[in-house]
Amino acid sequence: MSSIQSAGLTTLEIQDVGRRFGGSQALAHFDMTVQGGEFIALLGPSGCGKSTALNCLAGLLPLTSGRILIDGKRIDTLPPEKRDFGMVFQNYALFPHLTVAKNVAFGLTMRKLPAATIKTRVAEALALVRLEPHAGKLPGQLSGGQQQRVAIARAIATRPRLVLMDEPLSNLDAKLRIDTRAEIRKLHQMLGLTTIYVTHDQEEALSMADRLVVLRDGLIQQIDTPEQIHERPKNPYVAEFMGYRNQLHGHVVSAQDDVVGVRVGELVLNAHPVTPLTVGDPVTIAIRPDDLLPVGPARAVRDRNVLTATPTIVEYQGQSFAVELRGPEGVVLHSRVGELPPQPGEPVQLTVGALRALAYPSADAPGAPVESTSRAEAVA
């Protein structure tokens, strides 16, 4: 169908890329290989280095170490204007003095294409984002969502080798964000453009990307498929970021292949070791609120895991109730209950399946210094 297709990138190799600002290391040992047509999301809280990584890829920031190769050819030595990438900025960065059509045509004009070609390509790109009726308007006359679609059209009109997106949805309201998200995903499936997408929103990353890269303090924590990252976060930090809000600390008292007994204060919980553990290891158990549920007529105790806790806050959140509880030794627990929420002040028993309680060596707990991802592997 469309002539806007991936301009043939087979592999993008990012080799040990690092970027230092003054004395602080914003990004280090960034190492990954992206296959042509992949949709990669860089995910992490602000300051984790994801935008730095994107700007390094775009060439807007020089690297302090490492190399970037496309199909074996070094590109980190090229200035941004020679890289043939398309970039979508968080604040759109549309040229305010040019019409929508001229904005989209900008990259094509720079490539000195014949006027007729430019015209058809602009029309195509605008059709893809359904903005043909607005071609003659100035960006200031469009809504935020429309402006973002212009930015996307402008970035893909040149048929770039790689599309970079820097939190493109963060300035949109909730509903528009979900619509535009679907639209970006659809465009990607249609055109097969290799895309690197930066976001701090895990839901956004999970729903769009083929693979996620979770970053923290400039270091890669995990590169995996959305399912793996969601179900098997590699360390407590990734777990916490992916919504494993309950974190309990204890020691391993019994160890089998896929279940370890962990003593947390007075009680022993059965948990799943993410990396092999031996008796005596200090561990952190991470549990999602949706997996830590009250025992009741409809829900039996699972894997002999019982925690007694007292609800302190019960919040109605539309489809479910978010319950905050005070557990053994004052530890704060979070649970998500579909119906019949517990009453604040009335103690309840909570249970969790052993496979849904992930046990990590405590050295990697959030707050503990993490030097590299290899720490977790070194233990393994």
Partner: protein, 306 residues
Amino acid sequence: MTTTDTNPVRAHRRHRLAERGIDKGLLLLVPALVVAIVLFVYPFAYGLGLTFQPSAKMQDEWGHTPFANYIAFFSDPFLFDTIWITLRLALPVALLNVLVSIPIAYKLRPQFRGKRTLLMILVLPVTLGAVLTSQGLIIFAGRSGWINQFLTGIGVIHDPLVLTMNYTGVFLSLVITGFPFAFLLVSSYLSGIDPNLEAAARTLGAGWLSRFTRVVFPLLLPGLATTFILTFVLAFSVFPSARIVGDPLGETRVMSLVLYRAFGDQNDYQLTATLAVMLGVVELIVVAIVLFGRSLVYRGHSGGKG
């Protein structure tokens, strides 16, 4: 139900007035209004009136009408030519100040070591008055100034360059005093342009020249027009340097000089007022032309912090 147009219950008068932007706060404007009327509107109207009451001498020379002063201005080359003499100085000076400010402000935009010091040096001449600048020019670029001493000393030239007491002297002095203004204004207009726009242009394949001509310059243009107007007005009313480092009876016989002459030497207030009005009219014509040009280009927001 709350108050609407059809609701019989009317809001309090005070609220209705406030709706149209009228409230007690407006009283705070009174002092400023009084000052403006007493110190500006009245003297201006008075001066304008004076221009139509020519002195007996002027009436004898240029006809017995209330317009004798204006007839004199347009007929006497000694007065009328000052328009061109002044424009010949002020227009190129303003243009040069604006054009030179662009690359310097553009280059100084990113943060770098020593930026504050450099900015201070560039802006410092603002604090020097026109008299001090002119005096400095005589010492630096005069017939026996440092430049000429140096150049004749190393044998590059035999006769000293004539850089003062002429058009060049006034031109240089106006550039020195006007540049900091132009630079500061252009810098602030530049900081009003979102740096991401240039980054976006780069990723789309634009080299530095394209980025400047297609993105930065068009967005800067309205600001440049304003800067041009301000430096032009500053240069157009040149007085001290035209006298100190210029040729006050010849090629730098600017409007303010003949104006001062009518006031100080001839004691003809009516003619002085007429010259002042004409000075303003010429300025306004130039300003109007530039503003018209400005109205033809994009003037919307440019995304930056300005």
